[in-house]
């Protein structure tokens, strides 16, 4: 394991790529790697990019890659696309937008499939981002799958969360719905060359004034009207999210032509500087580990429940519910009790079981 870590640190691409494949699997070796990574990383800010399918996430990252390279940064990218619920296959198509960086030694792009995890990321995302960090890539960019309204895992993992919307996103009612827009540190309206974009830009700005003033109201307006803003305090209340009462920056861009992306990059670098402060690093490490524990524990519980549901003894419970002799509440309580016992008693035959033991 130490030999592998050394090779990755020395910049061996093949070792890095193979370690990423290992991190995408279960098993003892994979677990040892994941635990090792947790110890050796956490100092580089991760930038998350999320938004609906086709809004321009990969294209924006491609443009940002060009600009970050001009500044001499080595940049790592993890891009997630959905696994087919039918075949287990996937088309990992984010890289196709970034191919001009394919032969750049200082850029590493890795595509991952969700493997049916919901929430917009895959289990391996966090581990692959840590591997990029270990290999010296800074910053690390994470692209989620094309999301809907409620896939917000990225906020719990990244230091800076960029939410991208584009012309056609919907009217003010869509913008008022809870979820995606609330996790943004920076809200990007892409495709500003399209006729609908100005309306969207204005509605997003108004929406954010309202939702922010509901909780605090102070300094919101000045922040929104582009005062130099972006103070280090912005992110103290909740890592990965702008604190309540602080509206995110709203930036209109054209990702493909690069128009106004330089302005966005300035904002990103401002937040990046704030995220590098030791206090923020500690906070983010804790948030990531918490999200790991939560997710792994959920996997164990889910598996235990699935096992229990197909066990012969459960047939009685199901039949009882069907016949109306038991209430749903009774059945659930029975299953939960048994499931919890199972997950504690079980020798760890699956990745989830081992993970819980290691983390918790």
């Amino acid at each position: 394991m130490d030999a592998l870590i050394d090779k990755i640190r020395r910049g061996d691409r093949r070792s890095l790529a193979r370690a990423m494949s290992l991190a995408d699997k279960a098993g003892q070796e994979a677990q040892a790697l994941k635990d090792r990574l947790r110890r050796s990383t956490g100092n580089v800010p991760w930038w998350g990019f999320t938004g609906p399918p086709g809004v321009g996430k990969s294209t924006l990252i491609d443009t940002l890659l060009g600009m970050l390279r001009q500044r001499g940064c080595r940049v790592g990218v993890v891009a997630v696309d959905p696994t087919s619920p039918v075949s287990d296959g996937a088309l990992l198509g984010d890289r196709v937008r970034m191919m001009r960086h394919a032969v750049d030694e200082e850029v590493f792009i890795r595509s991952l499939a969700t493997h049916r995890r919901e929430g917009g990321l895959s289990d391996a995302t966090l581990h692959c981002a840590r591997l990029l960090e270990l290999a010296g890539y800074d910053p690390v960019l994470i692209e989620t799958v094309g999301v809907g309204q409620n896939e917000v895992d990225v906020a719990g993992v990244t230091d800076i969360c960029v939410v991208i919307v584009g012309a056609g996103y919907g009217d003010d009612i869509q913008l008022t719905k809870a979820g995606l827009l609330e996790i943004a540190d920076i809200l990007v309206v892409n495709k500003c060359d399209l006729p609908d974009a100005n309306r969207l830009l204005n509605e997003v700005r108004e929406q954010l004034v309202l939702s922010s003033s509901a909780t605090s109201g102070q300094a919101v307006y000045s922040d929104l009207t582009k005062s130099p803003g972006g103070t280090p305090d912005r992110k103290q209340a909740s890592p990965g999210c702008t604190p309540k009462g602080m509206a995110p920056e709203v930036v209109g861009i054209e990702a493909k032509s690069g128009k106004d992306v330089d302005h966005l990059l300035e904002k990103l670098l401002e937040l990046d500087r704030a995220a590098r402060q030791p206090q923020q690093r500690q906070r983010h490490k804790q948030t990531r580990v918490l999200s790991e524990i939560r997710h792994s524990a959920m996997l164990v519980c889910e598996q235990a429940l699935e096992d229990r549901l197909v066990a012969p003894a459960t047939k009685e419970l199901i039949a009882g519910l069907e016949r109306g002799e038991l209430s749903l509440d009774q059945v659930v309580r029975e299953l939960s009790v048994i499931s919890c016992q199972l997950s504690v008693e079980r020798e760890p035959p699956r990745s989830g079981g081992r993970r819980l033991r290691t983390d918790g």
Binding site: A17, K25, S87, D88, G89, A90, L91
Partner: protein, 143 residues
Amino acid sequence: MNASRPKRILIGKVGLDGHDRGAKFIVRALRNAGYEVIYTGIRRTPEQIVRAAIDEDVDAIGLSLLSGAHKELLSRVAELLKGEGAENIVLFAGGTIPDQDLAYLRSLGINRVFRPGAALSGILSALEEALTGGRSTGGGATT
């Protein structure tokens, strides 16, 4: 989470050749067969293809060529893979490749060449055999 993951295949087009209907058809078919497919798009250089394949740690590379430059481009890809010590990645090709060139491609280690009229079922079973040694019957997914 399962112990094994679907096999990963990179599909792309190299050289000055923008005819991508065939490549995209194969991308969809492989996805439906349970593979994870990384698509690189058209007009790529051999260097771009090999770098992407290494970084993505793929099990196979499939290149579509309708330009007539298959001998030059595929030999360059094979050479670069060898330079990276990555000959274990299965390299296969598709497109308008005449009979007389097959022996040369075989000498590069390219034993699977799918030409106009190739049946999809034949393509899938040949890849399955190449990637799993014919053990699995369930497409790309080995779980």
